[in-house]
């Protein structure tokens, strides 16, 4: 269209000038000369403009001088897949070298949890591959599924929960299967741990992490100080509880968190949690006095509490360059009920009670971008156990070898390299003194963790 405009101009001009030709004959010559002059002038201009147009057309379009403010638009794609949930996958694996056979690893003096504990198998191991799907359901709910595909080709539902989006007054409710808000590390997914494995207290008291199959309600106070309270109840499906063959709930949990900042470089959070559970015929394997396997079981009440603290420091809060993270937790459990010896044949049963505790402290220092070193100290106190079958003289203490033991402890050091937010390579070395015989185990582990898909966001 533009190229027609210069041509149109002389045409229109000629039309306007046409009536002039009817003027006196002596004027005709003058007019003709003027017209000729105009024609040639316009011809020149048209040629110049045409040249300019050709030049502009051959050049790439120049960027607009300033970004043009656009009306707010949704950037989402359309079609049937537009509402697909966010997908992310975490891949992990280890290479493990231990000085002792990891299959006889157990925590001395503590009833075995049957959980996924210890340094893991030797040599190369495929860890859990985590697949997470999450999305808002509607204006009222958000839903998340995390499935763990184990190296043994099993699929486990790690978490599958809904969470409310629209409750008033700072309330949030969550239901389904989820990591309990008990303590600090219980809620943290394995790929976000600062060491390859959980501290001994989590391994001894929960066999790793405690999952609630139930409901959680949290309330956050409307104050500048972070002040959060939560309550949970579930079905007790998980050590140290068991599912009960009756209505009602098991695994009632209460927790409170408080947190804030000190200056612009330091942040902190303190917490306390309490969990009340029931176990019925919670069995574990032990050896009798002749070294033969027997099944013992516990029925009773089990109460666990923990206090936890986390402190993070980064110069001016710039976590990219340097960060120091200190954390520690102290956990205590008391159990009270009946212990049955050799439940499958002798079935001797009498009172049992115990008070056991443990703690860990760890520090992780990101000394330069992408590199972190860390150290952790674990300690467990086997505490006092009262086994009536033993005190009554019916059985000797050696009849319960799993419950014998000195106070287990462990020292771990780690170094990790994080090429990006989505990858991590880690080296960890443990001096592990958890076994009852007191003989030291040394474990060296190399670990990789990769995340693909949706960008994760981590809790404090």
């Amino acid at each position: 269209m533009t190229s027609f405009r210069p041509m149109a101009a002389p045409l229109a001009l000629s039309c306007m000038l046409l009536p002039a030709l009817s003027h006196a004959a002596d004027d005709v010559a003058t007019l003709r000369a003027e017209l000729q002059a105009l024609k040639s002038e316009y011809n020149d201009r048209v040629t110049a403009l045409e040249a300019r147009i050709t030049q502009l057309e051959s050049e790439p379009a120049p960027a607009p001088a300033t970004p043009v403010p656009a009306a707010p638009v949704a950037s989402a794609s359309s079609g049937a897949s537009a509402f697909n949930p966010a997908v992310s996958v975490i891949l992990g694996g280890t290479y493990t070298d231990t000085s002792r056979d990891p299959h006889d690893w157990h925590i001395g003096g503590f009833i075995p949890s049957g959980g996924d504990v210890g340094p893991g198998d030797r040599s190369f191991n495929l860890g859990e591959s985590e697949l997470t799907l999450s999305s808002n359901v509607d204006p009222y709910f958000y839903a998340n599924l995390t499935a763990a595909i184990t190296g043994d080709n099993e699929i486990e539902v790690e978490e599958a929960f809904f969470r409310t989006l629209a409750l008033p007054s700072g309330f949030t409710a969550k239901g389904g299967r989820f990591f309990s808000g008990f303590g600090y590390l219980n809620e943290v997914h394995a790929h976000a741990w600062d060491f390859v494995d959980q501290p001994l207290i989590y391994q001894a008291f929960f066999g790793g992490q405690y999952k609630q199959n139930g409901l959680q309600v949290k309330w956050l106070a409307p104050t500048d100080l972070f002040l959060e309270f939560g309550a949970e109840a579930g079905n007790g499906d998980g050590f140290p509880a068991t599912r009960l063959e009756r209505n009602g709930m098991n695994g009632e949990t209460l927790f409170a968190h408080v947190g804030g900042d000190v200056g612009d470089s330091t942040s902190w959070r303190l917490g306390a949690s309490w969990m009340d559970q029931r176990a019925e015929d919670r069995s574990y394997e032990d050896l009798n006095e002749f070294g033969q396997p027997v099944i013992n079981s516990f029925t009773g009440k089990t109460t666990t509490w923990v206090v936890d603290g986390v402190l993070k420091w980064s110069p001016h809060g710039n976590v990219t360059r340097q960060q120091l993270k200190l954390q520690g937790e102290y956990m205590h459990r008391s159990e009270d009920g009946q212990l049955t010896y050799d439940a499958n044949s002798l079935a001797l049963s009498d009172a049992y009670s115990s008070d056991q505790s443990g703690w860990y402290v760890q520090g992780v220092f990101q000394f330069m971008p992408r590199w972190r070193i860390g150290m952790r100290y674990d300690s467990l106190d086997t505490g006092t156990s009262h086994i009536a079958l033993v005190t009554s003289g019916l059985l000797s203490p050696e009849a319960f070898p799993a419950l014998l033991g000195v106070d287990p402890e462990r020292v771990s050091v780690m170094l990790d390299w994080n090429p990006s937010e989505f990858s991590r390579l880690r080296l960890q070395y443990d001096w592990d003194d958890a076994r009852a015989d007191g003989d030291n185990d040394r474990a060296l582990r190399l670990q990789y963790l990769y995340g693909i898909g949706a960008h994760g966001a981590h809790k404090y």
């Binding site: 970004p67 956050l220 809060g317 710039n318 990219t320 994760g456 966001a457 981590h458 809790k459």
Partner: protein, 301 residues
């Protein structure tokens, strides 16, 4: 124990008894948006900045103090375009505050008001920290601020209709001052047009676009990927023949690589405030641009 329970109960009563504060509580993800909301909302808003200019807004801890601020916020002002993706979703999730969920009037994203530059044609994390919607470091083009200011004014009026007239008046007043300042800055910055520069991270792209600075290289080979010795060596070879006028750096960047390069190619390092509060002069948005231009122009003298 009972005194602990009593103090908790007292605290709850106090919290419930707090007078309804008339001012809108705004949680801004950066000091720039915080400064803009303060300009536009005056004493009708109560602004808290989640980060300072000395932080890398890509990487921030979702710390308890921020969750607490998100709990009471009436409005969250974020950049969007995935800049805050590693932490803001956690704050919103943990806040238990239904008013600031994305899509609600209490959630505002600046990026949705702008046409972003450098929208990647290929989405692949092997290309570094790229953002699907484009480069999110939008604040250093004052025309972007103009557009975002208009949208924030509208949003404040939506959330607090009784003060709509006040916000409209302040918005108009800010726009008048801002347009005058832009004219002044553009006149002043004319000598910078075409000046060749090297950047650290690709976060001065809007500044370059506005002033016509020509970015000839970045110290990060890919966004968010630190340079290797080999890559720096190549940069030296490439830039020695045609050294840039300056190497641009932000307050929160590690200056080592930039200084190393500067020593070899003899181009000065200019540390820009990048955000409000990035240095003593960048006290507000006007100061941010005044100071940025002064620092850039000082090199040309």
């Amino acid at each position: 124990m009972s005194s602990f329970v009593r103090s908790i109960v007292m605290l709850l009563i106090l919290a419930a008894a707090l007078p309804a504060n008339a001012a809108l509580k705004v949680l801004a993800t950066t000091s720039d948006w915080g400064a803009l909301v303060t300009e536009l909302g005056g004493d009708k808003v109560n602004v808290y900045n989640a980060t300072s200019a000395l932080q890398d807004v890509h990487r921030v801890d979702a710390k308890p103090s921020l969750v607490a601020r998100a709990r009471t916020a009436d409005l969250v002002v974020a950049t969007g375009a995935e800049l805050e993706i590693g932490w803001l979703p956690v704050l919103i999730q943990e806040s238990g505050n239904s008013h600031i969920q994305p899509g609600s009037p209490g959630y505002f994203e600046a990026a949705s008001q702008l046409q972003l530059l450098e929208k990647p044609t290929r989405l692949d994390r092997s290309l570094g920290d790229i953002h699907a919607q484009g480069n999110p470091h939008v604040q250093l083009d004052p025309h972007n601020i103009t557009a975002v200011a208009k949208a924030i004014t509208e949003r404040l009026s939506t959330l607090d209709p009784s003060q709509a007239q006040y916000y409209a008046q302040r918005g108009k007043d800010f726009d008048t001052r801002w347009q005058a300042a832009i004219q002044r800055w553009e006149a002043k910055a004319a000598p910078l047009k075409g000046a060749q520069i090297v950047v650290m991270h690709r976060d001065q792209v809007y500044l370059c676009h506005w002033l016509g600075l020509q970015e000839i290289a970045a110290i990060e080979p890919k966004p968010g990927v630190p340079p290797t010795a080999g890559y720096l060596g190549e940069l030296v070879t490439k830039l020695t023949a045609t050294p840039p006028r300056m190497i641009l750096l932000n307050g929160y960047n590690d200056p080592k690589a930039a200084e190393w390069l500067s020593d070899r190619i003899h181009s000065p390092v200019v540390t820009l405030p990048f955000s409000v509060g990035g240095d003593a002069e960048a006290k507000d948005l006007f100061g941010l641009f005044d100071d940025t231009l002064n620092k850039l122009l000082a090199v040309l003298k």
